[in-house]
């Protein structure tokens, strides 16, 4: 186990270094001179030169990378050229918004995906199974920006039940906060619910065919108990670990969902900074996203080995 942990941790380091190089390299490829963007209306060559000096834009790219990494390792992700504030503080400001949205989306996904997967596996080849599979296909194939627009039309424009856009934090007013985030959370959770449903279905079908389930039935246990206590507990391991990998889907989805519902979160920050050529923000946000994703992958791998005794040896 210790050898596995060490090996897995050692694998993460070069990946993180490569990710940082990739992100830094990408930013260098973005069009536009950052000094000109920072200077705004100012076109004085002296001012431009000062900016270049200050941000080391005259240095060779590898040197700029080393300076950037030094900053990153000490918690300094740079400064937003447009918003004139540190990227770390922007991340800290926007992250809770997206985390609230993501948390609610995960609840939606778990609430729909897992029961649908269980029903589909237990009632295999019945109308329930076909219905659940159709739901999964619908979830995977529906573009979330379209679903978002349709929900706005139904619940905001036609029925007038929910606000079409905007965001209120939980601390400010929890009712308004839920009202502003319920639609985007459903849009975001819908696709992941479909993926979770498919994982749950296949894991449950495997579990239901296992010897221990047959033994549980032979003992005379109620079917409900066999399904929920014996099969589900074992089937949940791959579902949870595979589900953790959907974090990328969640963030990609958040980019569009936040754009549609005008939610000032992480996703909107990425799009706005790309359009405004705000290099440091794009770098910082993508780096935080990728690092979190790599760490979640690592945790999912470790969790999988921890809960699976056969892999522990």
């Amino acid at each position: 186990m210790l050898a596995f942990l060490t090996q897995r941790l050692l694998q993460v380091i070069p990946t993180l270094v490569l990710v940082s190089m990739l992100i830094f390299g990408l930013q260098q490829l973005l069009p536009g001179d950052p000094a000109l963007i920072m200077a705004g209306e100012e076109r004085d060559p002296k001012v431009l030169e000062e900016i270049r000096q200050q941000y080391r834009l005259n240095e060779p790219i590898p040197v700029q990378y080393v300076y950037w990494m030094k900053g990153v390792l000490s918690g300094n992700l740079g400064e937003s050229m447009r918003l004139k504030s540190s990227v770390a503080s922007l991340v800290a400001e926007k992250l809770p918004v997206t985390l609230q949205l993501a948390g609610m989306a995960i609840l939606v996904a778990l609430g729909i995906g897992i029961p649908a997967g269980i029903i589909s596996a237990v009632k295999k080849d019945t109308a329930w199974d076909y219905g659940a599979n159709l739901f999964a296909l619908w979830g995977i194939s529906t573009p979330n920006f379209w679903l978002g627009i349709l929900l706005i039309f139904l619940f905001s424009v036609t029925l007038g039940w929910l606000p079409a856009s905007g965001y209120v934090s939980l601390a400010e007013n929890w009712r308004s906060s839920l009202a502003t985030t319920i639609m985007p959370a459903f849009v975001l959770g819908n696709a992941i619910a479909a993926i979770l449903m498919r994982h749950t279905r296949s894991a449950m079908m495997q579990a239901m065919a296992a010897d221990y389930v047959r033994t549980a039935r032979a003992k005379g246990l109620y079917e409900r108990r066999v399904v929920l206590k014996h099969a589900l507990r074992n089937a949940m391991t791959p579902v949870i670990t595979l589900g953790a990998l959907e974090f990328g889907t969640l963030l990609s989805g958040a980019v569009l969902t936040e754009q549609i519902f005008t939610i000032p979160g992480f996703g909107k920050l990425i799009v706005d900074s790309v359009f405004n050529r705000d290099y440091a923000v794009v770098q910082g946000v993508v780096l935080v996203t990728a690092t979190t994703y790599i760490m979640l992958n690592l945790l999912a791998d470790i969790a999988y080995v921890l809960v699976n005794p056969r892999l522990r040896a």
Binding site: T142, W146, F153, G248, V271, I294
Partner: protein, 294 residues
């Protein structure tokens, strides 16, 4: 038992059925996959015949027909500058399907040779390529595509390149894994034993045997690429106005959702139908080509 009760075996029957014919026979049995194939074919046909089947010019504006509800003259209504929504949806199929095909073509063209190289050569080449793939896969798909599309500049062809590059690591990983499994098979061992050069073994013996999983992944990747192109166009990084694209149509429709909901419904439905069909086809192909389902 007498000889008369046993059916005679003709020489033709003794031969093994062609694997592709067998896969097609299995695919035909799957209703979902056949519906998917039919809808995909319909979209391809509509995209190819767009100039003939579209009732109006997709970019022609008409100030007397601004945001008109669906009618006999305009079956799916008109948009904010009086353009016919049906004609734009039909022409938009060209942008979406070509984005799906071209970007997956790029991903296959780059990803398969690299995956083959990593899996076949192994050692340091594999180590380096695998780490690069891990790094690329650590950045969420759409975020990497947005960053690349922004760097290349907003246009449909650049969006295709951005999506293609972003989808490449999946094909590298898949090809590598399949190559690793194939290269220890007896037929590869035999090809090596008779003195075939490495490139010939990789291209003539390994590659043809790993095509089925690549085909399945490609059909599912086309679905992903169509959504990605629509997303980039929705954000303003793909097809540029006034050229029609389902994503950019949804972008402008968003502002008129209260007054003209048909503007948003139909392009979104077209994306949904195209993506659903490729997903159905991909699922069917997976079942038809997977040896475990035989």
């Amino acid at each position: 038992m007498t000889a008369a009760t046993l059916p005679a075996i003709t020489p033709g029957e003794a031969h093994e059925e062609n694997p592709w014919a067998r896969a097609w026979r299995r695919l035909r049995r799957r209703k979902g996959a056949m519906v998917g194939l039919a809808v995909v074919s319909l979209f391809v046909l509509v995209a190819l015949l767009a100039p003939w089947v579209a009732p109006y010019d997709p970019v022609a504006t008409s100030w007397s027909a601004v945001r008109k509800a669906p009618s006999w003259a305009h079956w799916l209504g008109t948009d904010e500058v009086g353009r016919d929504v049906l004609s734009r949806v039909i022409w938009g199929a060209r942008a979406s399907l070509s984005a799906g095909l071209v970007s997956v073509g790029i991903a296959l063209g780059v990803g398969v040779p690299l995956g083959l190289l990593a899996g076949y050569a192994g050692r340091w080449i594999d180590a380096i390529l695998s780490r690069i793939v891990d790094a690329m896969l650590a950045i969420p798909f759409l975020i990497l595509a947005i960053a690349l599309a922004a760097f290349l500049g907003p246009s449909l062809s650049n969006a295709m390149i951005a999506i293609g590059v972003t989808a490449t690591p999946i094909f590298v990983r898949l090809t590598r894994g399949q190559t690793l499994a194939a290269k220890v098979e007896d037929y590869v061992e035999a090809a090596r034993a008779v003195g075939n050069p490495h490139w010939r073994i990789a291209l003539r013996h390994v590659l043809p045997n790993i095509v089925p999983p690549l085909l399945v992944q490609a059909s599912l990747a086309i679905a992903g690429a169509i959504i990605a192109e629509a997303a980039l166009s929705f954000l303003g990084l793909g097809q540029q106005p006034p050229s029609p694209s389902w994503g950019s149509m949804l972008n402008s429709a968003q502002r008129f959702i209260a007054q003209a909901p048909w503007m948003a419904f139909w392009p979104g439905f077209a994306i949904f139908a195209a993506v659903l069909s490729f997903n159905l086809l991909g699922d069917g192909l997976r079942d038809a080509l997977d040896p475990r389902h035989r």
